[in-house]
């Protein structure tokens, strides 16, 4: 019997000044009525983001508010196998949809003083801390690619894109890094 090595392989592993590819992580699209889910999720020690366009973290898992009934759950790849049973148990009796999207998308971290400038090259959002404070998250665009953005610190962002869009997004980020490096 042929067996594979366990490592997941992502496209576009290159990194440059101001951004880097993150290791694979566990991602789940959770669709559920937030009011119905808040209690059970809390009881199961799982996060649920209640505030619009804000992330909530609990233990190893973070929940990103992407829509009124849509959360993106993000955790470590090593914890991947545990989540589905934990969620199923927690949301037993609550109508919901949980779909594994870990391989659909990958994450890029942008950090440092150039992070918001790199983002401004492709994303029309205002990254001033008054409108996008730490914990801000949203589904948006980077140039012509759909992405999910999550501000984890004042100068640190996580950007998730679908895997086939990664070469496009990282290529643009590399161009942008060159611009920043040249100080222009």
């Amino acid at each position: 019997m042929l067996k594979l090595k366990a490592a997941r392989t992502l496209p576009a592993r290159a990194s440059a000044l101001g951004w880097r590819m993150l290791d694979p992580r566990s991602c789940w699209s959770l669709r559920v009525d937030l009011v119905a889910a808040a209690g059970p999720m809390s009881a199961a020690d799982l996060p649920l983001a209640i505030d619009v366009c804000r992330a909530a973290t609990r233990g190893d898992w973070s929940a990103l508010w992407l829509g009124p009934d849509e959360q993106l759950l993000v955790g470590l790849d090593s914890a991947h196998a545990q989540l589905a049973p934990r969620l199923a148990a927690a949301l037993d009796g609550v109508a919901h949809s949980i779909v594994d999207v870990s391989h659909r998308q990958a994450a890029i971290e942008l950090s440092g003083p150039g992070a918001t400038r790199l983002l401004a090259m492709g994303c029309p959002l205002d990254f001033d801390l008054r409108s996008a404070p730490v914990g801000f998250c949203t589904r948006t665009v980077y140039a012509k690619a759909e992405v999910v953005l999550w501000r984890q610190d004042t100068q640190r962002f996580q950007l998730q894109a679908w895997r086939s869009f990664l070469p496009y997004v990282t290529g643009l980020l590399a161009l942008g890094s060159q611009e920043l490096t040249a100080g222009i």
Binding site: M1, L2, K3, M121, G122, E179
Partner: protein, 1010 residues
């Protein structure tokens, strides 16, 4: 005058210690750092810069700013970096700059097309509408190309643009457009509040009219010192972004303003990697427009000779660049502002041959200052013509009587420059682009901003403060800034600057006056051309002709005469044109109205608009996890939607047909491996999943058992086929829906649309999983044998996993969904594994398949294989006007369903007409002839056009396994024509075909169910 025209006076923009060499039309000249190409040419006594658009008349520099209509040049760095139609007044000089004049042959000084000027009575406005009517066909092939070539501007480089163009979004509470005195005062006010302020100016140096030269003192300082200190303050403020060389060219909805920042065009050697331009898309909460005003030329015969210049421009050239427009100048004005020019030039040693004022009784501080400077003022005087060829040599001045008519003979005054001023026109372009209203102000004879768009304020000259005292400009600008900040919720504004102190103005002179329209001319005189629009060569006579010929609307007059339609968009001409038309129509100017202001305010290069979106970044190029493997094996790819899909895998010099024949044969004989990852995948989950699918798709999903698949069809609400795909029931409340590659985003969008707007109460959610799964199709009689050694925890036998069933298991140890489905008609499986594992599982299956004669195949073989089975491809065999019945798949439509999208439409009589085009097979009588896809089909042979056509070919291939060509077609009442002979007209005669069932291979499906 030629040679050195540089003055020791003025030159505020210059660094006189830094000489630069440059070339114009092959001749070398010296300029100074800080010059524009225009100022450097004038400094060298060069006034002849170009030839006019239509008449090829010699032209010089008329204005000092971007409104100049004449001085268009080509700047060439190398073959690829050659930019035509740049305005010499906007081109900053650098060492080694190479410029060429345009629209002349063989040379600028001697241009053969000057003949047009002599023939001008034969080519009046709209001559091409009247003259070039017959023969009609010749318009496209002969007349239009010739006219366009004759009336050319510069020539663009045909090489790829090697430069980089940056783009970014900007956000601020307050965007101020224009860094003249008004813009700077507004910025100083807002800077103190801590709000984010962006201040942009198209010039290399901020200051606007303050740089042109003013007698005023601000805050107890010279205006120049105040300007320097203010700019330092703004530059130091962390909340202020000051952008120079940045043109706000478009005002879009919601205060989104587009700016074009020129980053490296002014550098002799742009550093590698430095973008040439940056396009800013600024989202501003509030906008202050401080865009100033543009001086109006005067319309009189011969007003276009080189050496005829706007008076304010001449002052700008002196005070900014230390350039003298001539040695002996005549000033002709209807506005006080030109007096300051005369005074400044006289102080620089220029002889003022005459200062002619059209007004009979000009008075005020300007007039007094001129007289006390020893300048003779001729009042009530107009110009009736000029002399000179490549440079003005004299101007004919004539007196006006009390009725404003020309009285007496012309006095020809010798001069080498004629400076004119008809007053100033507020630059309301951006205010108008923002959908602000305009108001005619009788006092200043100008259109000024009326009701503005939300969050948009105009201040200073663009708001009608023409020639006003600076203190009024400051009052307006600081008040507007304070208002704008309050709109942003910033009420506490400490440190707001005080008009009484920091902005206290002294020794300022307000200016007034102005003239709109053509100057009075002697009755019955045979006048020369009096230009209104210099760039498009439109004269006062052209406008009058248009009115005589019946045009009434200013929009029609504009298009007929082309006035205001050149690259300068009529910045210097629109108001004069309007006044002439209004006078001719006998109506007041505001009744006639203005033409529309559109973006861009100034021309913007395509490179800047494209930004990063070029080459690899024009659009995302999507690749599957197995792309690299296929590329390594020499696959030829084809774009499908945004995806790159392997089309075929040629071996040893095969062409596509040979490769496809081999790939098809391998699938039919043993097995093939195919990358189906691009298929759209949507997980439909929730208690109402089946109910939702029953409403969306035509099929009945309630009867689909868990672990079973079904071919689904999605219609639009008009009843026509929109998409198709295999749907699997994963559990009671979860379906795995596949779509076509290209249809994935729109199918998900349509589903979400219905779910959110029609059935929001359904408890079901949709998640795209297209990219979660790599899909590996293993198709052919040996498919089971290839896969079985790699699979655990799943039974692939025909009994356990029949056609259209699915199961879960491990493939190469990876959790997988295994679908027994086939788009080839063979025994087949589609293995879905999480995408990160796709390439490795693919390689393992490939290795396992080698013992069985496995072959990889691409989309082209897939198309042939499915056509042999009569499986349709939505978008190829359907065209958006086909019902399920037309496409031969009405068996899929669920019976007795209460509703599904498109169900009502299917009942319309037109969609049940038996004469509708239906999918059939076609076999050519000549088995070697492969019909062309798209060919039309006729029922009767030998027809001549117009033919009666009854259908067309949708798919056509050579089938190796059948040893002949096959085709799918849609034919009117096709299913009633089985066995009939039809005719397909081709480029090489008629092809005779027989109508058949659309399934050509294994019609009983024995291979499928093996």
């Amino acid at each position: 005058m030629s040679g050195d025209c540089r003055s020791a006076r003025g030159g505020g923009d210059l660094q006189r210690s830094q000489p630069l060499r440059f070339e114009f039309d092959g001749r070398s000249y010296q300029g100074l750092q800080g010059d524009t190409l225009a100022s450097a040419l004038l400094a060298n006594g060069v006034h002849l810069i170009g030839r006019s658009f239509k008449y090829h008349r010699p032209r010089g520099i008329m204005a000092a700013g971007p409104e100049d209509p004449n001085a268009l040049v080509t700047i060439r760095r190398d073959a690829a970096r050659s930019t035509p139609n740049l305005n010499a007044t906007q081109v900053e000089l650098y060492d080694g700059l190479v410029a060429y004049s345009q629209n002349r042959w063989p040379s600028l000084r001697f241009d053969t097309a000057r003949i047009n000027d002599l023939l001008s009575r034969f080519i009046p406005s709209g001559f091409y509408y009247k003259t070039f009517m017959w023969p009609r066909k010749a318009w496209h092939s002969l007349y239009e190309p010739r006219i366009r070539a004759a009336a050319g501007l510069g020539v663009a480089s045909t090489e790829a643009d090697p430069d980089l163009y940056a783009q970014c979004y900007g956000h601020c509470e307050l965007l101020i457009v224009g860094a003249g005195p008004a813009g700077i005062a507004a910025a100083l006010t807002a800077a103190a509040s801590g709000a984010r302020v962006m201040l942009c100016d198209e010039q290399a140096l901020p200051g606007g009219s303050l740089r042109t030269g003013t007698s005023a003192r601000i805050g107890g300082q010279d205006a120049a010192d105040w300007l320097r200190e203010s700019v330092q303050k703004l530059t130091a403020a962390p909340n202020v972004t000051l952008l120079t060389r940045t043109t706000a060219f478009g005002y879009l909805p919601h205060n989104m303003v587009a700016l074009s920042e020129r980053l490296s065009d002014h550098l002799a050697t742009p550093p590698p990697g430095k973008p040439r331009e940056r396009l800013w898309q600024v989202c501003a909460r509030q906008v202050i427009l401080a865009t100033g005003a543009i001086e109006r030329p005067l319309v009189f015969p011969g007003n276009d000779r080189p050496g005829v210049m706007l008076a304010g421009a001449a002052r700008s050239f002196l005070n900014r660049y230390g350039v003298l427009p001539g040695a002996r100048v005549v000033v002709l004005t209807a506005h006080d502002d030109a007096y300051q020019t005369a005074i400044d030039l006289k102080a620089a040693g220029v002889q003022i041959a005459a200062l002619a004022d059209m007004r009979t009784d000009p008075a005020g501080p300007h007039v007094e200052a001129a007289r006390s400077a020893g300048i003779a003022v001729r009042t009530g005087t107009t110009a009736v013509g000029t002399r000179g060829n490549l440079r003005v040599t004299a101007v004919g001045l004539a007196g006006l009587d009390s009725n404003g008519a020309v009285a007496g003979a012309a006095d020809w005054v010798k001069c080498d420059a004629l400076l004119m001023s008809g007053g100033y026109t507020p630059s309301v372009h951006l205010h108008s682009q923002a959908r602000g209203k305009l108001r005619w102000d009788e006092a200043t004879h100008a259109f000024v901003p009326g009701a503005a768009a939300a969050g948009c304020r105009s201040v200073g000259a663009c708001n009608g403060l023409i020639g006003a005292e600076l203190v009024r400009v400051f009052e307006q600008a600081t008040a507007a800034a304070a208002d704008a900040l309050r709109e942003c919720g910033i009420h506490d504004q400490p440190g707001a600057i005080a008009i009484s102190k920091e902005l206290a103005v002294s020794e300022d002179r307000g200016a007034s006056g102005g003239w709109i329209g053509a100057l009075p001319q002697p009755a019955g005189a045979k006048a020369g051309k009096a230009f209104v629009d210099w760039q498009n060569d439109v004269t006062a006579a052209d406008l009058k002709l248009a009115v005589r010929e019946g045009f009434r609307s200013i929009e029609h007059i504009k298009r007929y005469t082309t006035t205001g339609m050149a690259t300068d968009q009529g910045k210097t001409s629109n108001l004069n044109a309007l006044a002439i038309a209004a006078q001719q129509l006998g109506r007041a100017i505001p009744e006639v109205g203005l033409t529309t202001f559109r973006l861009p305010y100034l021309p913007v290069g395509f490179g800047g608009l494209a930004g990063y979106a070029r080459g690899d970044f024009f659009a995302p190029v999507r690749k599957t996890p197995m792309y690299d493997w296929a590329a390594d094996r020499g696959a030829v790819f084809e774009p499908v939607a945004m995806w790159q899909r392997a089309r075929y895998f040629p071996e040893r010099g095969e062409d596509m047909h040979q490769a496809v024949a081999r790939e098809c044969a391998a699938v039919r004989r043993s097995c093939g491996l195919f990358d189906a990852s691009t298929l759209g995948k949507i997980e439909v989950a929730g208690p109402d999943a089946i109910e939702f699918m029953n409403r969306m798709y035509v099929n009945n999903w309630s009867s689909l058992a868990v672990g079973r698949c079904r071919y689904g069809i999605l219609l639009r609400d008009d009843g026509f086929v929109y998409d198709d795909g295999v749907v699997a029931r994963l559990s009671d409340d979860r379906l795995h829906v596949t779509t076509t590659t290209g249809g994935a985003p729109r199918v998900l969008g349509m589903m979400e649309d219905y779910l959110q707007t029609e059935w929001p109460h359904l408890k079901v959610w949709l998640t795209s999983t297209t990219e979660q799964w790599a899909v590996i199709a293993v198709q052919g009689p040996q498919a089971r044998a290839v896969l079985e050694p790699l699979v655990e925890q799943a039974d692939l036998s025909a009994a356990a996993l029949p056609h259209m069933a699915m199961t879960r298991g491990l493939v190469c140890g990876v959790p997988a969904m295994i679908f027994r489905v086939s788009f080839t008609g063979e025994l087949g499986y589609e293995i879905n594994v999480p995408a990160d594992y796709g390439a490795e599982v693919w390689r393992a299956i490939w290795a396992s398949g080698q013992a069985h004669g496995m072959c990889t195949y691409g989309t082209e073989a897939m198309h042939v294989l499915r056509a042999e089975k009569g499986y349709i491809i939505v978008g190829q065999d359907t065209d958006g006007t086909m019902t399920p019945d037309d496409a031969g798949v009405s068996w899929a439509v669920g019976k007795n369903k209460p509703e599904f999208v498109g169900m009502v439409s299917l009942r319309k009589p037109a969609l049940q007409d038996p004469r509708r085009k239906q999918l059939v097979g076609l076999l050519t009588v000549d088995p070697a002839h492969v019909l062309e896809e798209g060919s039309q089909i006729a029922a009767e042979p030998g027809q001549r056009p117009p033919m009666r056509l009854i259908g067309h070919v949708t798919s056509s291939y050579y089938s190796s396994v059948l040893g002949r060509s096959i085709a799918l077609a849609v034919v009117s009442a096709g299913r009633s024509r089985l066995g009939q002979t039809l005719y397909v007209p081709t480029a090489h005669g008629e092809s005779t075909v027989t109508v058949t069932q659309p399934v050509f291979y294994d019609p009983k499906g024995e291979r499928l169910n093996a």
